[in-house]
């Protein structure tokens, strides 16, 4: 039984990580006993009561009274918890923000709690992706069944897997689960491995590419995404049906379901770009507001992400839009979709077309979650331009991918990024001129949309994380950073997210960033962060450094490569994030910082933190956000840190972001991060 074990694990440090296989097996039998719960509440009375209640339910409880600490714990020990319960009102961080972070970075089910039972607040919980909402005072009966959320999530992940066509894998996973054969997974938990995401299993494997991923999710690489977007554009967003898209894409092994779920995400993303409040399900076309029109299609999918991005990173919604638009192939004449302030969130979500979204509902939820999360993030970022930039960058990144695919971006290249950079312009919706294509997603929303993007991407990366997990963001970030990447990445981009990487259009960006491939190795560790860091610092200065996108790319790649970066370096992740931001910010906005911060976070828990700290405060906030997100994306299963790397689409995003930056301020620097060679990221 875990009743006693709960106490041991209660330490503030990471939760039990040391589940041995035997324990795991034993635990599996006793499930839900042993469920590892992290409860966060600033009220000590409630915390004490909850802890006792959860222990009585035979869960393994770790309590925490500060959201920041909770995040640290989660990051440190990615697979140390199965579910998180958090209060809504906390002094150091808003519960919804924490929710977003977790969703993006770790993709764990989160239950919100509050004495407030107002419809508005509960709705917020839903839209931010909480898997449940408890009204205080909480009764023990309500806690007895929280394990269902864990199982449900896992189940959806598996479903994704199956949808992606890897039936064998799915079977294998299920079989593993059934056999309670934990040995295969590194997970610490017992039943966790089997029931948990396949990621766990892959963790040890570094979650590498989709092929080896246990998770049956299809990883939407930048290339793949570009193909997808191209197909969608060819068909016309209204006529784009999964079947036809599949045919056009002509990718072996891809199933209609994969495409369908990806399309759904994409639509949400586009919707977001267009500024429509998230509505994951029907983003498309309806959103097409003038600017968004271009984004329309994009937004629908990315809507979720973008919005998240936008929301969080303040990514200029426009940037996203631009990006999207670009992606869509349409010259978003007005990229500047003046995304309504916060729709940013969605904008980026798109980026992660990851199939994960396939889960459909979850996705949306996730997206929402992410999106919201992003919101939270941007806030930290403060309206700093950076944030906006980031967003833009993010969106751009994402968008770039898209755009890239469309080629429209190219012209934009920077416009997108610039757009992103526009954070300041908040209101400005990405000047069409520059972006033209690139969905300005990030228009100065002020909030670094990037963060959203990242977030979105992240989520995708994580594969299951679906929605918004930031993976989408990565692209953005990367794009900005990587603008250069577009070419490189295109192929590699963390696979998940968008094919952004290859935006041919994005010219200058040639991010040094070794794009994912290279990056992985480098970035993995510090590089990842470094970027972010540098970027931010520079950002503040407005240096359009090219950021040595390398780092960025790396991070993204890292994510992508799941194994590389993620497994090891969460850092990479962060880097990416940052990069994205940096570019966006180039304007010097703080956005970068935010972005970076995000990146940092993604990097992994450790790195993330470090970097974040180094970076601007904003960065931290961003990073946190970003990382959270990013991670999710890339790492499909594994560590959310990879958030960025996965995005592959980041490249595009980056470019998009960079483009966006232009408008904002002398955005041109797509990534102005020049100064930042990832390697040197000064910590």
């Amino acid at each position: 039984m875990n009743s006693s074990s709960g106490k041991e694990y209660m330490s503030t440090a990471s939760s039990s990580t040391g589940w041995k296989a035997a324990d795991a097996a034993a635990a599996a039998d006793q499930f839900p006993a042993g469920l590892r719960v992290l409860v966060v509440d600033d009220d000590p009375t409630c915390l004490m009561i909850l802890e006792k209640m959860l222990r009585t339910c035979l869960y393994e409880v770790t309590k925490c009274n500060r959201a920041e600490i909770a995040l640290l714990m989660l990051r440190e020990n990615k697979n140390g918890f199965d579910i998180v319960i958090s209060d809504v009102h906390m002094p150091d961080m808003d519960g919804f923000k924490l929710l977003e972070h977790i969703g993006l970075e770790m993709d764990l089910p989160v239950i919100m709690m509050s004495a407030d039972d107002g419809k508005h607040v509960v709705m917020k919980g839903v839209t931010h992706g909480a898997c449940d909402y408890l009204i205080k005072p909480v009764r023990i009966e309500a806690l007895k069944n929280i394990w269902q959320h864990v199982v449900r999530k896992r189940k959806n992940e598996w479903k994704d897997f199956e949808q992606s066509g890897s039936v064998e894998e799915g079977d294998r996973l299920l079989k593993q689960a059934d056999d309670a054969d934990y040995s295969s997974s590194a997970n610490e938990g017992n039943w966790k491995s089997s029931k948990r995401r396949k990621d766990d299993e892959d963790e040890t494997d570094e979650r590498d590419d989709t092929s080896t991923l246990k998770k049956p999710r299809v990883v939407w690489s930048v290339e793949l995404h570009q193909q997808f977007v191209a197909a969608v554009n060819q068909l016309g967003i209204d006529k784009a049906v999964p079947k036809k898209i599949l045919e056009l894409m002509n990718v072996p092994g891809l199933t209609r379901e994969n495409v369908a779920s990806h399309l759904q995400k994409y639509r949400l993303y586009l919707r977001r770009l267009s500024g429509v409040s998230q509505h994951p399900s029907n983003l498309n076309s309806s959103f097409m507001s003038p600017q968004e029109a271009a984004f329309g299609p994009l937004s629908s999918l990315n809507g979720l992400d973008l919005q998240t991005l936008a929301a969080t990173g303040q990514l200029p919604a426009q940037s996203l839009a631009t990006l999207q638009a670009a992606g869509l192939g349409r010259s978003a004449g007005k990229p500047g979709i003046p995304m309504p302030s916060v729709d940013q969130r969605n904008i980026f979500s798109f980026e992660n077309p990851k199939l994960r979204f396939g889960e459909g509902q979850q996705q949306h939820v996730n997206n929402n979650k992410q999106m919201n999360l992003l919101h939270g993030i941007p806030t930290t970022m403060e309206p700093k331009q950076l944030a906006g930039l980031h967003h833009t960058a993010q969106s751009m990144g994402n968008m770039n991918v898209q755009v890239a695919s469309n080629g429209s971006q190219s012209s934009q290249n920077n416009p997108l990024l610039m757009q992103m950079a526009q954070p300041q312009a908040r209101g400005q919706v990405i000047n069409d001129s520059s972006l033209g294509h690139a969905p300005r997603l990030l228009s100065p929303m002020g909030q670094p949309i990037l963060s959203n993007g990242i977030a979105t991407n992240v989520s995708t990366k994580t594969g299951i994380q679906e929605n918004i997990r930031a993976p989408s963001y990565n692209p953005v970030l990367q794009t900005s950073l990587m603008l250069n990447f577009p070419t490189n990445h295109a192929s590699e981009l963390p696979g998940n997210s968008f094919p952004l990487g290859t935006t041919p259009g994005i010219p200058s960006l040639t991010p040094k960033v070794a794009f994912p491939e290279d990056v992985n190795s480098d970035i993995k560790g510090s590089v990842g962060f470094m970027l972010s860091y540098d970027i931010f610092s520079d950002l503040n200065q407005h240096k359009p450094q090219n950021w040595e996108l390398q780092n960025i790319g790396m991070t993204f790649d890292a994510s992508q490569h799941s194994n590389n970066l993620q497994g090891n370096h969460n850092h990479s992740q962060p880097v990416l994030v940052q990069q994205g931001f940096s570019s966006g910010q180039v304007n010097g906005q703080n956005k970068s910082a935010t972005v970076v911060s995000k990146a940092m976070f993604s990097a992994g828990d450790s790195t993330g933190h470090a970097s974040a700290q180094n970076g601007n405060q904003h960065l931290n906030s961003l990073l946190v956000d970003g990382t959270v997100r990013v991670k999710s994306e890339t790492v499909a299963d594994a560590t959310p840190t990879n958030l960025y790397p996965d995005h592959f689409g980041q490249e595009d995003l980056m470019s998009a972001l960079l483009k966006q930056q232009d408008p904002i301020a002398p955005a041109e620097h797509e990534f102005d991060f020049d100064g930042y060679s990832l390697d040197n990221i000064p910590e």
Binding site: D43, T45, M53, D116, P137
Partner: protein
């Protein structure tokens, strides 16, 4: 019925707390959590509550001493306080908290002040009663307050 007179007295005291509306079902939840491993769980929680909520009360008091009230802040404080109070089952205190919040929302400073005074009274009364209750419980010997006769 308890043979032990102290326990009987304890039960009577407990019942009256519920009957008079000082405590609600949430308190029972706490009692049910008490077990051999945590034989004084309820008392510990209540002690923690009074310690922590005392801080919030002070904050509210200070906020109410200002010339102009920051209703949003007051509402936020009270929200926090209400959450805590409800988690231990402090029924009357919770009711006053709710009323206070309503006055905050309607920007009624006068109402806030009046309600707050009433709230403090209920808060103090409950504390007294619970202290007496726990003291008796300790004297009566280790027994599960809620129920199962040992």
């Amino acid at each position: 019925m308890e043979r032990n007179p102290m326990r009987r007295q304890l039960q009577t005291m407990r019942k009256s707390l519920f009957d008079q509306g000082y405590l609600d079902d949430q308190f029972v939840q706490l009692e049910e959590l008490q077990d051999d491993a945590n034989p004084n769980f309820v008392e510990e929680v209540v002690t923690l509550y009074y310690r922590d909520s005392g801080r919030i009360i002070l904050n509210i008091e200070q906020a109410l001493e200002r010339k102009t009230f920051d209703f949003n802040k007051l509402d936020a404080y009270m929200h926090q306080f209400k959450g805590s109070s409800s988690s231990i089952g402090a029924k009357k205190v919770k009711a006053e908290s709710t009323l206070f919040r309503e006055y905050c929302r309607s920007r009624n400073g006068e109402g806030c002040m009046r309600t707050f005074q009433q709230l403090k009274k209920e808060y103090a009364t409950l504390r007294r009663k619970l202290e007496a209750y726990f003291q008796l419980a300790r004297q009566a010997g280790p027994v599960e307050t809620a129920c199962r006769p040992k």
